[in-house]
Symmetry: C2
Subunit: 450 residues, 2 copies
């Protein structure tokens, strides 16, 4: 009898297993593919590895004004792919080590629930007190004629191409689409992005979006309100404002969304409630069956690796009596788009505050307010930091940034929002100079009428 | 009659002037050289600009394993110096704009106090309610025979060299010394560092120091407990464990410390108390003359640009009745060394906690615990994150890091320490994945027996 069986070894599942293991529980983690899940094997890690190689290539070619002249710079896809593979192997070993360190048993195989307390893998049956479903999500491919052609790939397939395309069509202007648009444009591929909606990355602050679009203008052509209608060997056909147009592309990336992996788990037989966006859970990550929890992409609440990890911690804290019960709070979950320039945000945007009827004030500054930003990014670099605060209480509601190393700066904002700090509190915190992070603090002084 | 006269336009003085100006006060800022002070003109900004160019050069040459091959990379000092000049000019204009924006009058000239309420510049006399002394510090050159030779420079002079040396001797293994050691070694100059003490950067966590030494080993030779006794045209002569040795160097950098600029200000006539480390102030930055304040390097409390800025804010808050009076707190002042790898810290080290008799626990992880760190820095990169917490209360006392982009991550730690968060509080904050910043949170889970 296990205390906990976790189905799925991604950032949700392995963190949950690790935390329960650290409590001394008997834990089994079942994974049908590789440890690390989509994040490590088909998502965050491989894309960030490739993006970094592209940034190195771009820097090598464009550092003359900083004093570095390079004769010939070549981007070698096979070497970048080999490095990506090495990173993934190293990190998988890291996850396996963590599991071993916390006495978590790991089993390779496809799991199915056969009762509230029984999980089947192949011909083996395992009994358990608690179950965590952490099966993640898969790319959704819309039923467009030609979407099954060999040169049409999802975010998984695009990570295994052997030759660089000359022209890539990216269908979908969300986070995944924009990260790959950045990647391919930096290494010299002609990129066009097709987004059905009138804006890119819809949850993002719209002022940041404009800066992203402007920054990418050189290498990426974005078509908004453009619907791809069919794909053939040569062209992507799309409709834009009533007109039918086409773009010649030798690679097509489908990045229109993801679907929760709820199939073949036996959920229906246990009458576990499933909604369109995923398995239904409460704020403790419990499904309608009290000893069964669902975390990460499969519950559709927040399709982010770190959300999955946190939900794993929340689930485990509600499972065992000795733990202080925690709940899932989503008002201070940071997110990052690893485009060039990077984008990072945490908390409410202006639009969201308006929608909720919350009175707010805004303080904002261009990233160029930071001396380090100018010194390292150059005078042409774009960037913005925007802080949203509650007009009455002064509480910091959101921080939204584009440019520089904002991905590494946003944890400060998450800390301030989660700790319910007010503008005045953060104004009294000293940030190191010269860093780009100072621009967060400096933006607070731009909030009028405090 | 001015409300405030600020003497010195560095990060202490211009921030104080800006804050007072924003309150609608009549403010005069007097600067004898360039706005921005040492930080902008001879310190933080020019060094970081040069260091970044060196990092670009190093990356251009060493990115083959990431997939980027470069035929020939050249570091061109004149171009790097021209870019540095451009950055400085841009930022000076930025400071001038801020002053104008907040109606701060700026006057070029050398100021002298002629009474508690009167400041003289040349033949002009100005009356004022309050005075802030923000005159900074200057490099200290020890009386070593040969220290006045033309190839012996301070941190100011080294920023204006026209040709790269072949071999540089750096006298002093503090922050400035180690930053220049990193710079010169990255661009291929042979570097030897001579430090009198048995350790580099004495206030730094000693485990970090070992990693720094190890990382620099290839390009920099460090001599600890080595006393430079004389310098001649060709050699630096030093004593090490009783033996006299020498190092041939065509450039010698004196980086042994700085002295507060307390001279020629008329302080003695007003009986303003001066100690060995600088002008004596209380926790509101007041000198023994109640309407005269001293901030930044000149009071010797914390030789950091951001400390000077914060002290300026503290001084202004105590000067005017409508402000909530603030005091200078130094337990959460972050600091960064822009060496390669970068080092950043905030709060107590283990040694300091031991010294104060505070019971503490330590949680630490190599930076390689972060997937992004591996993906971007490679498998050979060194790094460590260490969190110190109070053994009884769980309060976070200190965070110390080496590697990656820790300079931009340390503001999170400053926020946690200043907001008096406990280990459990920060464990509940979600950090974005994959970022290097996660290693701070992950280190908290390594603290045993919580």
């Amino acid at each position: 009898m296990y205390d906990l069986i976790v189905i799925g070894g991604g950032p949700g599942g392995y963190v949950a297993a690790e935390r329960a293991g650290a409590l001394g529980k008997k834990v089994l983690l079942i994974e049908k593919g590789h440890l690390g899940g989509v994040c490590l094997n088909e998502g965050c890690i491989p894309t960030k590895t490739l993006l970094h190689s592209a940034k190195l290539y771009k820097n090598a070619k464009n550092s003359e004004s900083f004093g570095v002249t390079v004769e010939g710079a070549t981007y070698e896809l096979p070497k970048a792919m080999a490095w990506k593979k090495k990173v993934m192997e190293t990190l998988r070993k890291g996850v396996a080590f963590k599991m071993k360190h916390h006495n978590v048993e790991v089993l390779e195989g496809e799991a199915k629930l056969i009762s509230k307390h029984q999980v089947q893998v192949g011909e083996q049956n395992f009994e358990t007190q608690n179950i965590i479903l952490a099966t993640g999500s898969s790319p959704f491919v819309p039923p467009i004629p030609g979407a099954d052609l060999p040169h049409v790939v999802t975010s998984t397939g695009v990570l295994n191409i052997e030759n660089l395309p000359k022209r890539i069509a990216i269908v979908g202007g969300g986070v995944i689409g924009m990260e790959f648009a950045s990647y391919f444009s930096m290494i010299g591929v002609e990129v066009e992005v097709f987004e059905m909606l009138p804006k890119l990355i819809p949850f993002m602050d719209q002022e940041l979006m404009k800066i992203l679009t402007k920054s990418m203008k050189k290498g990426v052509k974005v078509h908004l309100e453009a619907q791809v209608t069919s794909i053939d060997d040569k062209d992507v056909h799309y409709q834009h404002k009533g007109e039918t147009k086409s773009f010649e592309a030798d690679l097509v990336l489908m990045a229109v969304g993801r679907r929760p992996n709820t199939m073949n788990l036996g959920l229906e037989d246990l009458s576990i409630e499933i909604e369109r966006t995923g398995i239904r859970v409460d704020e403790t990550m419990r499904t309608n069956v009290p000893n069964i929890y669902a975390i990460g992409d499969v519950n559709g609440r927040s399709l982010l690796a770190h959300s999955a990890s946190r939900q794993g911690e929340v689930a485990v804290s509600n499972m065992f009596e000795e733990c202080r019960s925690m709940v899932w709070r989503d008002h201070a979950i940071p997110w990052v788009v690893y485009s060039a320039p990077e984008i990072a945000g945490c908390g409410m945007t202006e639009d969201q505050a308006t929608e909720k009827g919350i009175p707010f004030k805004v303080g904002k500054l261009p990233m160029k307010a930071s001396g380090r930003f100018i010194a390292e990014q150059g005078l042409g670099a774009q960037g913005l930091c925007k802080v949203i605060s509650h007009a009455d209480t002064g509480a910091i509601l959101g921080v939204h940034m584009i440019g520089g190393t904002c991905s590494e700066m946003i944890a400060q904002a998450a800390t301030a929002i989660e700790a319910e700090l007010r503008v005045q509190d953060v104004q009294e915190i000293v940030f190191p100079h010269p860093t780009v992070s100072e621009v967060i603090r400096d933006s607070l002084f731009e909030i009028q009428g405090l």
